[in-house]
Symmetry: D3
Subunit: 248 residues, 6 copies
């Protein structure tokens, strides 16, 4: 996707919203389905057959997290009802998609993040679990948490509050692969958590937590060059090098 497609004026909030992202996702999926017949069935069932982002996301999460004792239809219903009753959850998902797309050079498309980023999917499902937790529906929150940990190997305690607009996925990510976030810590907006990290403390906004147990790098109090790097203008290799540079 040419960078131009992502450009839009900050003032036009409507264009930046869910409708715009959903239109991008469908266009990407249609293009990929056309180019790759072997993937078309998957793209139609997960994206192109749905009338809205919240249905597509609920469907995908329901099918990812289901088991022989927790049926996909039950989970689909739970996600769809929760997303419908609290629009802030979908707004957070859209913010996450946009942040990943704009700042993570490995995120080649919105649909790639929606379908394949374990950190993104784990985070959206976690927010539903967190909402159930604060509604005192704890057994359901814990059952959902258990499935998130099983399927995505990302372990975020339902009591943990996770902000929006973070980076997800494997390369850098709000939440890297095999990350563990414990207890009632708070993960700030735009924070990042390295793969395999175990987070036991709050992570301030735009700060990175890495290691086991995690220590903080970057952020306002621990300045690093990472925040200054515009995702779009950065090639993948140099990003990797820079990241490993400032971590070690």
């Amino acid at each position: 996707m040419p960078a131009g497609e992502l450009r839009h004026t900050e003032s036009s909030s409507e264009v930046e919203g869910e409708a715009w992202v959903w239109a991008q996702i469908k266009a990407e999926a249609r293009r990929d389905a056309e180019a790759e017949p072997a993937l078309a069935s998957y793209l139609y069932s997960t994206i192109l057959s749905h009338s809205s982002l919240k249905r597509s996301l609920s469907f995908h999460l329901g099918n990812k997290l289901c088991s022989s004792t927790l049926l996909s239809t039950l989970l689909y219903d739970l996600f769809l009802n929760t997303f419908s009753s609290d629009p802030s959850l979908l707004a957070a998902a859209v913010a996450d998609l946009r942040a990943a797309r704009e700042r993570d050079p490995a995120c080649v498309s919105f649909s790639h993040c929606l379908l394949n980023y374990k950190g993104f999917l784990a985070c959206q499902a976690h927010r539903v679990a967190h909402k159930l937790w604060i509604q005192s529906r704890r057994p359901l929150a814990l059952a959902l948490h258990s499935r998130i940990a099983d399927v995505f190997a990302v372990d975020i305690h339902p009591a943990a509050a996770v902000g929006t607009g973070g980076l997800f996925g494997h390369a850098s990510a709000l939440i890297g692969a095999s990350a563990t976030i414990l207890g009632n810590v708070k993960i700030g907006d735009g924070a990042k958590i390295g793969a395999g990290s175990v987070v036991l403390i709050d992570v301030p906004p735009r700060t990175t937590a890495v290691g086991n147990p995690a220590r903080l790098v970057g952020g306002k109090e621990r300045p690093s060059q990472l925040e200054d790097v515009p995702g779009e203008s950065m090639d993948h290799t140099s990003f990797m090098s820079e990241w490993s540079d400032y971590i070690i």
Copy 2:
């Protein structure tokens, strides 16, 4: 569950045993099914439809670990037969449940641990794999080990001997998420292994192994305040802080 429900006299060993824990688990599941209809089907199929803990655990492990080439009915049979032929395996599961419930503040109920703690489930399945291993049924032990690693992302070599009464789960745990325990090491009773740790050496009783590769903290020779903290009287936040304190 009020703390009082967990109180029992040390002298009445019968009350403390499997029957008492199983009665607690059924009562918890009945309460949760009543409060949360969306979870009731799951709770009936995994707990309330079963006549004993060993059937419930065998059913749950069989459904968790099955695949298209290793059927749930075959695994259910394997677990049920092994638990029936060696009562020490179920006694170990009961000890694990009681230890987690009493000492892990994140463990809100026995049924939560039974259904959702990857470390707990991985450990029970591992003990069956270990038994097969020492019976020289190694191909079956290795196939079971492979499924445990796939599903729970916890990798304990079948040759490793794991003691009883440990802490499980995400917060602190005999066995944290994404832990790896290699070769013929010995994990002592009440030991803990941090999330993401790779254990290559014996972990003495009541000692914690953390990091990759794991180093030991706490225990008789490395005293820490963790052992002194009574689980029931400790709130989650402070526990987290204390834990991260003594690790770093």
Copy 3:
């Protein structure tokens, strides 16, 4: 399997090739199916019903990586067609099997590695994803990568090139459990990556990367005794100790 069965003259390349390894695998599976009826169905469906190694591997990967939205038959077709069109992929798998069998003392049989080593299976599926990536079939490469990460908890970016003949599995491995390999790094032949490691830099041949982020140990420039240890003559315990020695 007695060591003698693995002995063969270096000059007879035909004997060492795919046909010989496949014959070994079938013989092992037949022996294990005979000894363990509970495992026979699994061994017949994954190995003994197939006419070639590439069919067995395609079947096993298809069934491991399938989901409700990516059917096993579709993935089986994808693997079988890719292995058929590029023989170097199967040659690499054979080299990996032989390296694991000869140098990893925990690898008790070829069939054990083929069926149960997450690192081995993740690596074979990754090579197919990498091939799709360099053919610019990126959406399919990323979807496959996502399934590899979900199922094996091993995260290798499709852009990463992975050499052949490495060590796999849990004990030591080209690719340990919960390993993450990012971006367009290069993993050299015979390299090893520790469990839970996050690799951001190239790993030269016969070098080991461990930790998060990974640092290099061993190799030509960082000599260690590991390379000198003949796998067959080493018992499991001492290997573990040696490994933990040189890491810490």
Copy 4:
């Protein structure tokens, strides 16, 4: 269930409607779940976890009719959306449930008909297929028809219009087991079609079609005693005898 529970005044249409039937179904399911733990999981997932009859029916049909290429979540969505957009479909289902419960002595409860009567389930799914057909969404109508025929062995062409309030199930039934209804015939209200019948002609209201090809018995023009028999006061045996009497 005592007959008294079914008594209600004809004038109180509200009581007779969907809400009343749904309340009965939930009460029956709760009673059966209490009495039969082995069935409780099934009853909670199909009935007790749902907030309305249309959700329960959509869930049950979705799970009955799904296949590896037509996912349960997709079908659940299709049924729920269609039932929501056309309330007459659910009203027809309620009329069918009440007719079966009042007139078929083999129908021991509403929930039994809802969960287990192939004729009832096939007819509700058929009405959705028929609606798609008259909306010119024929490929979807035919795909749904194909699944209905596969799963329920009841073959009703999507062009056929089926009235409401018929008898379903095995003993006497609007639609008996293995029935085939072809082309654009019309099945009148309260008509019955015998097991194994092949219907090629219109079946007037309150008329029975039996045989292959089906001939008509009973009805206004072919009076028989069947219509006069009050279902509630009739025991199963005598009904069977009477039925076989008037057929032969």
Copy 5:
């Protein structure tokens, strides 16, 4: 299988019993698995991995009759417990297997009948449903009945009593394909019910019911040559001709 293998002295009841039939089944399955690798996995999972006929039959019925809302493990447990608590059910299955093998020329082996005869499998599952029915566990009996009708397209009301030693399968059969047996009728020992028949009346021993609704042919009061035909000495073609002769 040579006819000689089926020969046994009437006096040695032990040899004729379950143990002997089970030994035959295992021998047949081993022979077929050897000859047909593509079928070996199926034969091992359904027969050769089991320690007894009742486990094999419970496993096969559980996997045949399961659905996404009625799990195979639950059904396996139900069948195994019921067969264990009432040995007459397994004795009836053995009698059915022996009758089919001795008198039905299309029944080429015991294992063929056990695995593939819909009539045989429907009848064994029906006897369990019938037992639940007379124990007043009617909701479970009806749910099981519903699955039997869905999967085998054979509809036997749980109230119907079915004798032992009948002929099953497609060619002639106690219970032919798409048969319907209603209400509390009684099917006598050695009776036969033609494919597609709808049985509303008692079928005396060694009598055949055919047609829709079924009429009786053969039996003590309606003598026909069918009973006189020894199954083993009859070739398939002539049997077919004879059967169609006396029906038409």
Copy 6:
């Protein structure tokens, strides 16, 4: 599809062959996927992702006939290998598709017949079972036959030889729903078998067998007007009436 699309000169055998039918099927599926997003995933997985008709048919049959003990990948392989080794099987499928499309007014498209006609699918799978039978691979033939009977409720003994170019489906059909074809009878080219029929005798070419047991109508020796009716010029209703006319 306008009739014109089906017109082609009889002399151009190439156009009429597999390639032409496969092109039609893909065009129809593409049109339907475009018009009906809810069906697109199904159409891509079953048709549009495949490179040939034999792969599409093998995939569809494998997914239709699989069970938890007979995996879809195994069946896909069996169908693909058999279709590849004997081109006459695919030629017969093409002839069946063309006959249904040209003569059955209910067959609205080739893809509808390929995906949804139980008679068509049962017949193609039966021909593979029949081939296995005459190759003396009888246990596999019988296992496949059992699955065909379970899934399609169409029971054709593997010994029966079925000709090509027949009519399939529900309205008129070589093989109607719930048909049973026994023993080594021969079903001639262009013959039809009514729904629910039980065929015990040979059915000559272009003859219809109806009833239980089936009697013959039409054909050279029993002339009827059915053969004279050109399928394309006949509307569905009149066809139904005519059919029911000549049957009764």
